[in-house]
């Protein structure tokens, strides 16, 4: 089948949905120029009213999308870099995330927020490199975090079609990844995880761009030590496919969570807590979290590497979970 990069898959999703549904619009900074590529061609095809380059006013353009949605449109809000959600935080977590409930269900709020280059690396230092999805999960947003080009297109289309606000995490490390992507419109359902590699000894929950890394570690551990690792990709962070994960853990009894966000109150914490509550009877080893350290990414690449979750740490954690027996 045809191969596309993740970024191209996003672009195709935007184009196809916009062609199909006139109420879909997109706004954000430098969208028309489309430097990175995910918005390429949109302005030429869909014009000024549906493809808006905004001033550097994230709070306002986020609120703008809320109003447009209440009035009947279906906006996509692009955040050029992840930390921009912080200046728009009230409009996100205190307005959009609460709107439908506070209105008593008087209106839906079909807005998609794309968070570009989330969790970027390579010397962008502390303010641009966050992977801020735990904040958004805590606030109650639906959040998707695709790990493949296929899922990027399918989850994006589904996200845009949802009647609720949905956050789409476009991980910096995933954007250049290539994969098979059908040309037709298709969707990937929210709330369904996927076994990326079956295994019987240890379950690794890997989020977003860490999925390929986890697969590589799993393969090498099987070769080197015969450990059979199941790699499970949640794909949607909220709603979370708890049953899918429990099925895997019921089989393995051992879990490592591999997640590229800050550790404390992070996403790995939530998964661990779910398991601590619902998988206790079949867990046979401590639940391990391999995450970022709780600091902003330092600039120097060696320091950066030292605080990011690494395949080596993952490997160690898998081995230690595998060899654990209650004393």
């Amino acid at each position: 089948m045809r191969q596309l990069r993740f970024l191209q898959a996003m672009n195709e999703a935007y184009r196809q949905v916009m062609a199909q549904d006139e109420s879909v619009m997109i706004l954000g900074e430098d969208i028309r120029g489309g430097i990175r590529g995910e918005t390429k061609g949109l302005h030429a095809a869909y014009g000024d009213d549906r493809v808006l380059d905004t001033p550097i006013s994230e709070a306002a353009f986020t609120g703008f999308a809320t109003g447009a949605a209440l009035a009947g449109l279906r906006p996509i809000v692009q955040f050029q870099v992840p930390s921009l959600i912080y200046v728009a935080f009230d409009q996100l977590v205190n307005q959009a995330a609460k709107m439908r409930l506070m209105l008593g269900g008087q209106a839906d709020l079909p807005v998609t927020y794309t968070i570009m280059v989330s969790g970027t690396r390579g010397g962008n230092a502390g303010q641009h490199s966050d992977n801020p999805y735990p904040y958004l999960v805590h606030a109650g947003f639906k959040v998707v975090c695709p790990s493949t080009a296929y899922d990027a297109k399918g989850l994006m289309i589904q996200a845009i079609r949802e009647q609720d606000p949905v956050v789409f995490i476009a991980s910096a490390m995933s954007l250049p990844q290539k994969g098979e992507v059908p040309e037709d419109i298709y969707t990937v359902p929210l709330g369904k995880g996927q076994v990326r590699r079956p295994g019987t000894d240890v379950t690794v929950v890997a989020v977003g761009h860490l999925v390929p890394e986890a697969l590589a570690v799993a393969d090498s551990l099987f070769e080197k030590r015969g450990i059979s690792v199941e790699v499970w990709d949640p794909r949607t962070l909220l709603p979370f496919d708890r049953d899918g994960l429990l099925e895997s853990v019921r089989k393995t009894g051992r879990v490592v969570i591999y997640d590229d966000t800050n550790r404390s109150c992070g996403y790995a914490s939530e998964i661990s807590a779910i398991l601590g509550e619902h998988a206790f009877s079949y867990l046979v080893a401590p639940i391990k979290r391999i995450t970022r350290a709780d600091i902003p990414l330092p600039y120097n690449p060696d320091l950066e590497a030292a605080v990011l979750p690494s395949p080596k740490q993952l490997e160690q954690a898998i081995c230690s979970a595998w060899s654990y027996s209650k004393s």
Partner: protein, 336 residues
Amino acid sequence: MSNILPPQMARKMYADMLRIRQFDTKVVELVDDDLIPGSCHEYCGQEAVAVGVCSALTDKDILTSTHRGHGHTLAKGGDVGKMFAELFGRSAGYNKGRGGSMHIADVSLGIFGANGIVGAGAPIACGAAHKFKAAGEPHVAVSFFGDGAINQGVVHEAMNLAAIWRLPVIFVCENNLYAMTTPLREVTILELHERAQSYGMASIKVDGMDVGAVFDAALSAVERARSGGGPSFLQCDTYRYFGHYSGERHMKTTYRTQQEIDEWKKRDPLDLWAERLIRGSICSAQDIERMKREVDDEIAQGVEYARGCPTPSPQDALEYMYAVNYPYTPAKGAEQ
């Protein structure tokens, strides 16, 4: 008084102001009687602003309101009974008892909701205006906010969006001289409407106690917006009679003098308008009295209705949150 105003409309504007006055006067009572939970921010004193502006609007136009939102909602046609039902937290309330005073909304009437966060409604109004403009519809969006909101960054960002995209938005700044205990003069220099000018939009100051003046200004702003002329800013100078919120009546606050309050009450928007209606032979004193009785009845009936409404069932507490159609979402507070 506005020259072009048909008598019927002039009378309706009085009745509308009266409804707000009586509604929020009742609210204070009901808060004191512990029948309304949370905090209410009464609109009494500022009636001319909501009514002046909303009299220039249709049902298709939309507005975003503030924490002090009862006036805007009533002026835009909100139903007294459904509003009281919401304040009582009943399922027949506008927001099915989920929102209360600070979220009261009737989306079907273009009332996009009160808002607990100062200034937050401004960009929301802009987004709706974009829809109207893009769809070629002649409707406008109004964003109400207080003098305090002028120092909230998002309001500036929103004004700029409206200006550069020539959106049919009207920013209505209700300057009641205080944000809670903080006097306007301590937190701003120059007049508020000068801020809007710097974005390149029409911006004027009006007497916010004179419903006719507000209406005139709103009408030209609305006409400008409908005809593609872009946004406007109206600074309406007014005054709130009660404290910042109902609870303040029982506190010893000193940020305003009784003398100042009394001075402003001499220019009460209802009295001023009644006088003009009578002077212009549009109403008799008896008409005014009759309107008062009618409104009192409406309020009493609204309270009565609301009291009779059932309260929502705690089993439905998670209803209306996003993602309810997925298992385990939203998460309950205890194991599920």
